[in-house]
Point group: D3
Chain length 134, copies 6
Amino acid sequence: MTQAVPLLVVEDEALVLIDLQDALEEGGYLVLAATDGPGALQLLDDRLAEVRALITDVDIGPGAITGWDIAQQAREVRPDLPVVYMTGASADQWASRGVPNSILLAKPFATAQLLTAVSQLINATTKIIPDQKE
Amino acid sequence: MTQAVPLLVVEDEALVLIDLQDALEEGGYLVLAATDGPGALQLLDDRLAEVRALITDVDIGPGAITGWDIAQQAREVRPDLPVVYMTGASADQWASRGVPNSILLAKPFATAQLLTAVSQLINATTKIIPDQKE
Amino acid sequence: MTQAVPLLVVEDEALVLIDLQDALEEGGYLVLAATDGPGALQLLDDRLAEVRALITDVDIGPGAITGWDIAQQAREVRPDLPVVYMTGASADQWASRGVPNSILLAKPFATAQLLTAVSQLINATTKIIPDQKE
Amino acid sequence: MTQAVPLLVVEDEALVLIDLQDALEEGGYLVLAATDGPGALQLLDDRLAEVRALITDVDIGPGAITGWDIAQQAREVRPDLPVVYMTGASADQWASRGVPNSILLAKPFATAQLLTAVSQLINATTKIIPDQKE
Amino acid sequence: MTQAVPLLVVEDEALVLIDLQDALEEGGYLVLAATDGPGALQLLDDRLAEVRALITDVDIGPGAITGWDIAQQAREVRPDLPVVYMTGASADQWASRGVPNSILLAKPFATAQLLTAVSQLINATTKIIPDQKE
Amino acid sequence: MTQAVPLLVVEDEALVLIDLQDALEEGGYLVLAATDGPGALQLLDDRLAEVRALITDVDIGPGAITGWDIAQQAREVRPDLPVVYMTGASADQWASRGVPNSILLAKPFATAQLLTAVSQLINATTKIIPDQKE
């Protein structure tokens, strides 16, 4: 527990991102943050191998890239990566555009919901694939 | 996360209620509280549409109304409402009097148990019914 | 139980489709079948409202339409529809292209796997959304 | 597997009961049947200790007793008893009147749904309470 | 579905083994059987890579080897292998001697319980580890 | 919530133990700690009846006793005891040496993972076995 557990967080609103960061660091996580689509794709390229989960807003500002796309691209490389989506208006698209074994948090959500969601998904991954060497 | 997530909490012991309130607010929730059966039923009438979960003590002081009744009445109006029961002496009645998809916390319980229980149930609701408009 | 429960099944190999149909009818289901992408989309248009689940092969012959696409389109209209994918070579795409709360059966699979998968998903839907009128 | 596994089945329509009985016996179960409320309560009194699950229609003909009542009474004596409800018109009451850890099958349902539901619940019970002697 | 799905079944009573084999083959599985501890270990050596699940009696006749040992050895080589235990007298040892993510069937059990248990575990494995190539 | 919920924690590194203790007490738990195998076995003898879960490091310093052994011994006496393992190098042994219904946390892990894991397991136990008196 001396090292924090790295997560990739994508959120375009600066104030919300600060809140997320505070809550996740309080829970023992380390946040690698992106604030728009291109930044998120760059982080996927650079740091995907080391993060333990992806937490992504769905509507990340202007541009064609959405949280649905980011999660899909991340899963192409890391099929077991835990994914948590955050959304206000786009919750109704989760059933058709979300990836399997993901959790959607409808905004507004409580800090405890976020910590429980990401922790539960990471714990399940660890549990199920105990021996990556096989 | 700028708005807190409202919950309905029913607990007749004032000191316990303060503890619950502190723990839940720490986790990002907003507590609408009732301290007896009639107060709980009044809150169901007034605020049920806006809360995201019900947390209820089972034995709520004198009178015929129990936590089992309150949860049942809430579910008649909101069948998908997450329900967490708290009880000391009445845990053995949960299997016959509790509602489906509820969690029972046997007293004494830890703050983390409460936050995990309510967050897990709310997250599951969001996940499963993504499109309320349909 | 006097009426069979209708399912939409998409499978381009005629012999496999007959096997699937036999197994599912033995289990009390009624199969509405499509053998290619356009036929599947036509069935979605015509009969989606009445089926209780979608069972789809992933690689359905020549053409641009895959089982991933069919499930996504079905979920846009029916976000709670149970989905079972069947695939040989494309299992590795499920984590990024599958829909939430779906099950993937890697070929070859046993009849009992198919019946358990579809039944479990339908039972969970019924359980979680008890009141469709709300 | 040489002995069949006994279940208590409550269903007031004789033809439906025969179908249920055939399906369950095909799956290796032995059916103890009641066709109305008083008969069901009598069976609870006489045979509850030996059955492994309760399968009950919700609307069991004239009289005040419903499937909700029968399950509740059974759970008062056997809190770990698996319960499967079958219903057409009353599915919307499950969220408020059903017992925890039960499954509701909306009519019409397939034989495979019933076998999967009851088997899954019995398997979970066995798994979770491995040592009844404690 | 044209090929049957191979399972490893360990059961020392010949008549019970025949029943198991009939039920599993009816469900689309192919049974590789061992009737004692040494035979089971031999099958693990020879065929473990190709089976999709292990179904093992716990008390397999004279000798020091039990079903607990066989499952543990199988999991050392295949950590994701679905395991179903069958037992009469030794169910109370499952909580301390069983492997994670296994199901225990207390004898007597119904055919449908066995098919549901093994199918559910295999389906979950397929679902969770979609891309073995990664 | 006025009384803390007692847990048994086994961890041989003093600094890590302090971190665990802080995090668990923050979540409302009371830690009974052991720092080596013999100490853990002594605590099992003395206090097992009163704790609500076991959290154990797998590699607990010199000596033949491992976290796998401690959990197994605890489960022989308390088959329903929630178990959380913590490990760096030995995660690949969980599938064969862990007990059923346990969670493995791969080091490094976040505080929130630990609190979620132990709380979720305790909540599930309470839920499933509502009436210990039966």
